[in-house]
Every structure is written in structure tokens, then in C-alpha cells.
Symmetry: C2
Subunit: 130 residues, 2 copies
DNA sequence: AGTTGACCTGGAGCGCGCTCCAGGTCGTAC
DNA sequence: GTACGACCTGGAGCGCGCTCCAGGTCAACT
């Protein structure tokens, strides 16, 4: 089973342009082509894309993803170095989550303040119309 | 107490250029100036900067921060709309955290796989040298 | 008086990650 | 045979958030 670029885009959630772009910058091995020279993405291609989008979601820069992709092309021998990249990224993600949670607290605090302002305001109106 | 731009940069963690840039794009009210025309940031300026950097950390686009800043300049009357922005952002942050946590699981899974590869590899070496 | 260094302004430039475009080729449907 | 639509290529353009630069002013120090 293989997929046209439009199908691959739909399934990966990336745009057609982005798929071609990823190929150009060596994130993605050039997929097979059909008789007419059109890209035919395999299930494997899609699985790799799905992992790539995970990495992107974590905020990994494309430069680093290319590094990972390059290692992957070298096969098993590069497994150690690939693992290092993932472990590093895991750390970065954990940090980022902590950072966001701290921000969440600040937001909650501010929102609480606005709540109090609203209540004071409502009280004022009750008083005025009493 | 007021602070030179260098001090403000040090305390806010932003660069001097970024401070001037924020002022240019109306994120920051133009701070007071000393006799020589140099910026003199107040404690309030710094507090606002610190909140701004929180918002940036959550990934709020600058466009939206400007909106918030503009409302703030309009005083109490805009409190309701400012609250809406913060509540919305809180939602976005919560979503983002969830997304990152999902990615974390994928990373853990992949890293586990690499661990297994390493162990299998180590076993092979033991066998070979036995 | 001269040098240094922090600061000023307006504007250009940059790295990132796409996104869009022009101009062309195919295969299918009418 | 022609119109259409999906796809192709190479390359330009874009929005974001800074970052850097040239050329200048000013206060302090020697």
C-alpha cells in the first residue's frame, strides 16, 4: 500500500509543501515514485513522519532532527548516538513542562485577581442600585 | 529607585536590544529618562517586563501581548477583556503541557527500545568472547 | 583636551520553518 | 483532442522575534 502526497499530507497532518520541504532538507528519504514520477509514500514513510512530527512538537529544531535522520540512515551502528539525542530531548521536554507549569501558576494568580476585581465591581453596582 | 537599560536587561533576562525593541512595538511604555536622555526603568517597568516574559514563555505571540498591553493602558475598564486573554492562554498552556506529556511517553518508549538494543548488543559481545 | 564607554536612533539583516509561485508534465474523463 | 486536476521542479517570499550596525551624544576619568 502506498500513498499519494495528498494522502500522506492528510495522514501526517503536514502540508504537501512541507512534505516536499522535509525531503529536500534530508529529513525524509526520497519516497518511491509511481510510473508517472509521482511520490508514493509507504507505511514506513508515514511512520517516520509521525515520529518526526512528535519531535517537532517537542520543539526539537530541524537541524537536530536532520542529525537524527542522518544517523538513522547509518543503521544499527548509530543507535547509541540516536539514543543520546532522544535522552537529551526528553530532558528538554521535562524542563519545558516544568517551566509551563510555573507559568500556569502565575496565570492562575493573575486570573484570580481579575476575579476579585469583577466581584468588587459587582458589589459596587449592587450598592449603587440599592 | 531606577535602573539603566543594562541593569534592566540583567534583571529581566532580556537583551538590551530586546528592551528597546519591546518599547518600539508598544509592549512596554516608554520608561522615564534621566537628565542625559538615557532610559531609567522603574520597579514597575521591571515587574511588567517580568510578567511579559512569563507570557512569552507560555508561547503567547507578541501580537497578542501587544493587545494585552494596549488594554492595560486603558485601565480598570479593560480588566474583563484582559482576563479573557489570560484565561484563554491558560487553556492553551494546559493543552501544550498535555501534548508535551504525550511526546514524553513516545520518547520514553523509543529510549526503552534503544536500551534493549544496547543490552542485546552487549549480550552478543559476551557470547562472542566466551 | 582627549579617551573611554555606556547609551542613543533609525534602519537593515538574520535564522527559522515553512509557504507560495510560475511554468511544466501526466493520466483521466468527456 | 482537449480540458482538467493532481502532481512535478527550482526558487523566491514571508512572518516571527529578535539582533546587529553605523553614526552620533554625553558624562566621567586622566
Amino acid at each position: 500500500m502506498s500513498y499519494s502526497i495528498a494522502e500522506a499530507a492528510r495522514r501526517s497532518g503536514l502540508s504537501i509543501d512541507t512534505l516536499r520541504y522535509y525531503e529536500r532538507i534530508d529529513l525524509l528519504e526520497p519516497p518511491a515514485r509511481d510510473a508517472a514520477g509521482r511520490r508514493a509514500y509507504s507505511e514506513e514513510d508515514l511512520a517516520w513522519l509521525s515520529f518526526l512530527t512528535r519531535l517537532r512538537t517537542t520543539g526539537m529544531p530541524i537541524r537536530r532532527m536532520r542529525e537524527y535522520a542522518k544517523l538513522r540512515r547509518r543503521g544499527l551502528a548509530s543507535a547509541g548516538r540516536r539514543k543520546v539525542i532522544l535522552v537529551e530531548q526528553r530532558g528538554a521536554v521535562a524542563e519545558r513542562i516544568a517551566e509551563l507549569q510555573a507559568c500556569l501558576e502565575v496565570l492562575d494568580y493573575k486570573i484570580d485577581n481579575y476575579d476579585r476585581i469583577e466581584q468588587a465591581d459587582a458589589a459596587l453596582h449592587r450598592e449603587a442600585s440599592a
